[in-house]
Amino acid sequence: MKWWLLCMGLLMTNAHAEMTEQQRAVHVLNRLAFGPRPGDIASVMSMGVSRYIDAQLDPDSILLPTEYRQRLDALTAQTVPTEDLIQALRPDKQADAEARKQQRTELIKQVAEHDAQLRLVQALYSPRQLQEVMVDFWFNHFNVFANKGLDRVLVEDYERNAIRPYALGHFRDLLGATAKHPAMLFYLDNWQSVGAGTELFRPLAKAGKSSGLNENYAREVMELHTLGVDGGYTQQDVTELARMLTGWTFYPRNLGQRDDGFQFNARVHDNGDKQWLGYHVASQGEREGEFALDVLAASPVTARHISYELAQYFVSDTPPPALVDKLTRRFLDTHGDITQVLRSLFDSHEFWDVSNVGSKFKTPYQYVLSAVRATGDDVSNIRPIMGTLSQLGMPLYGYLTPNGYKNTADAWENPEAITQRINFATALATGHLPLNREPDMGKPAPMPEIDAGDLLSTLGVSISAQTRATVMSTATDRLRAAMVLGSPDFMQH
């Protein structure tokens, strides 16, 4: 009875308590960043939480440390231009095909590793953390699957040129950049869509090549990217939009000759009239697709869909309806200015409501990144991270279908996940993941074991007093840091 009263008392106090400055700092580092690195909590507290948020919303205002910038430049310099990759991957009909095939397989592996390295170095070490968080958010929103054919060599360019520059920009720009990027045109097949009755329709059909309408992108752009699945469109709207988008394509051989690779091919564009979402669309060539994206980006239905997803990602698996309303209004008032919508979100009392703090179950990506960040390890070999993400069901660039990875607990919270996370935490904390050697450099230097005291001070109040007590009183030295990273507290943020 007494125990029960005490619990009730604590709950009551908690619900009304103001968060301490450290709690607020931990909360923004958990949600606007991939968790604290050593010293981060103190530095956010000293600059002030609201100034930290302002800076994160204006990433260009944050200076990049020289060492980080050099590292990134060095990596970027190694990026092989897309057109060269496509050239290298083109099947060779000459003899010695087997050797060429092996070369190609090796090249694809190198490209995948390079892409992953670029993504992970930025996500782990960029001081512009919110931008990295938004890259994760938008990449899943506009997902492409790297293992589909040409996308193997397009995905890095897609993230760098279609997602990252607009992650905190205007939604319409983001929508347009993804729509026109070869990675998306290829992934959702629009590049091969040909209007019926066009000049090329019959000759292509005869040659057994692409000869008709493909509605794949037209459907997903409404269902996933803009209006949402209950957005009120019909099968007819899907088909009509596919017709409007005929001719939006790219030519693999010509990549590199134009900045973005996008081409409009008037010869396969369906010039007939269309009836789409209540609009009568007369023939306007490429402009029809732009018009469609304008309409979709400005729709209140889209505003609500995006607002819901943002609130779900940043606040709660079941976002408070009042918050979604507020963000929807902000989205419409600012014509889809993502920074302004996020500012409203971070200002909202829902974001700061204690019941929403520390309550999201981390995705594998968030879990692994936050663990590595907390250790302060300097990662030069990302293979163990790539492997762990795959094992946990979230390989980088590896989600097959266009809806992207979920960020809700129902997708990730299960018994096997707990076991695997604990195994990863143990390997990481006891120095068994070779994160510190260049690939193929032979036996790794031993990784340092992580000191539990340092780790606990890095993580601050995100690790509860009870967990701290258990860790410090019961574990052997070698296991303490593993227990912190494998604790229930650290699975959530």
Binding site: V229, L400, P415, T474
Partner: protein, 406 residues
């Protein structure tokens, strides 16, 4: 109806008991009956799986991706004089001949959505058209099964808990691939006891931790001897045929495993689907081989097992402009098992002429997927009407003439 089924079950049991030990007599029948559901995510082209080769429209609708008629090069394997099986599924021919494989054509969800995500959601929640259902039908099924619940009674293969198994009944999961059975840090007693202590208490994750440990213990216990003996502890290659073989071993050695779910992706063939060979065939081949491995690996247990293969919807009857097919409606469901009334293609087949196509483009759904599943639940798992209503609450009365279970 229920009563008759029940009596038939008792009679069957009695006959078994005559020649077997008294232990068998005491074991309740329902817990021995197994159900494995395999979901093909991305909408497999059912018209290429069970091909209506006797329907001329099929060849007119698909000039470059149709599978040829039987007895010619790369042709289908004749099933019944009208339908033929994709040649990449040849591993399943013996099961058809033994009448342990049946199909239900033109089946699927009554909801008309062509969204993968909605359609999968409905097929897994078991409530087409209703988004608010929080749990999955296999979890509800787990909840109503008679007998004691154990950590491995419901098992999902894969690291992500699927919608179909979400809900209040605890479900175990095991990673697919060889890595699932490697020794891990948590298998070391010292690590294990440290984390056990950490997860004690009221954390909502504590229960998950406990479940994960119980499952692990049971699975490793069941697999240990056989793994070491057969493979010297070496990792086996990944892929469905191997996963299926592993699953069979697990089920053979752990009699508690009763409901199993796994999913396979890669069926969304909008472009260059291929015909007897090609993209789709390359996916069907390991699927067929894996199912054959599963049937063989289960041994006697196969007699008590029903395997259902399903996909969220079918694909357009007519091929598209890219030698592929787009999102359609009706599809084919597959049933395998010792008690399956096999060797026939069930369902209400109406042909592929314009008049019978759904919205002039897709195979219609003439059999609700829940009619198939509820017959399996009723006749194979011996659920009562009341239990069945809990698993498929919105179904109402579906009159079907299906005879899918012996």
């Amino acid at each position: 109806m229920q009563r008759r089924e029940f009596l038939a079950g008792l009679l069957g049991m009695g006959m078994v008991a005559v020649g077997s030990s008294a232990w068998a007599l005491r074991t309740p029948v329902p817990t021995q009956r197994k159900l494995i559901v395999i979901m093909l995510r991305g909408a497999v082209d059912g018209l290429s799986v069970v091909v209506p080769y006797a329907d001329n429209n099929y060849y007119q609708l698909r000039d470059s991706i149709a599978i040829p008629r039987p007895n010619i090069a790369e042709g289908v394997w004749d099933l019944d004089g009208y339908f033929g099986l994709h040649p990449a599924l040849s591993a399943l021919q013996p099961l058809w001949q033994q009448k342990k494989l049946a199909f239900v054509h033109a089946s699927g969800s009554p909801d008309p959505t062509r969204s993968h995500f909605d359609a999968q959601d409905y097929m897994e929640s078991g409530t087409p058209g209703r988004k608010s259902t929080a749990d999955g039908w296999m979890n509800r099924l787990l909840g109503v099964l008679p007998g004691a619940t154990t950590p491995t009674r419901g098992m999902s293969l894969g690291t992500v808990m699927p919608r179909i198994f979400m809900g209040s009944a605890p479900v175990g999961n095991m990673a697919a691939g060889a890595g699932a059975l490697r020794q891990t840090a948590l298998d070391r007693p010292q690590v294990n006891s440290a984390f056990a202590q950490l997860y004690q208490g009221n954390s909502k994750l504590a229960q998950l931790y406990q479940e994960s440990q119980d499952t692990r213990q049971e699975v490793m216990g069941a697999m240990d001897k056989e793994m070491t003996a057969a493979n010297g502890g070496a990792a086996m290659p990944n892929g469905f045929p191997q996963d299926a073989a592993r699953l069979a071993k697990l089920m053979r050695n752990d009699s508690n495993v009763q409901l199993v779910f796994m999913d396979l992706g890669g069926w969304d063939t909008h472009i260059n689907q291929g015909a007897a060979q090609g993209q789709l065939a390359n996916h069907l081949q390991p699927l067929g081989q894996g199912l054959a491995n599963l049937a063989q690996g289960l041994g006697d247990l196969f007699d008590d097992t029903t395997i259902v293969v399903m996909s969220e919807f079918g694909r357009t009857a007519k091929q598209n402009g890219n030698n592929g097919t787009d999102h359609g409606h009706g599809n084919v469901m597959w049933l395998l098992g010792g008690r399956v009334n096999g060797g026939h293609v069930a369902g209400d087949w109406q042909g592929l002429d314009d008049a019978h196509l759904h919205e002039q483009r897709d195979l219609p759904v003439t059999t609700d997927f829940r009619a198939v599943l509820s017959q399996v639940a009723e006749r194979h798992l011996q659920l009562s009407d009341a239990q069945l209503n809990k698993v498929f609450p919105d179904m109402g009365q579906i009159n079907s003439h299906l005879q899918l279970i012996v």
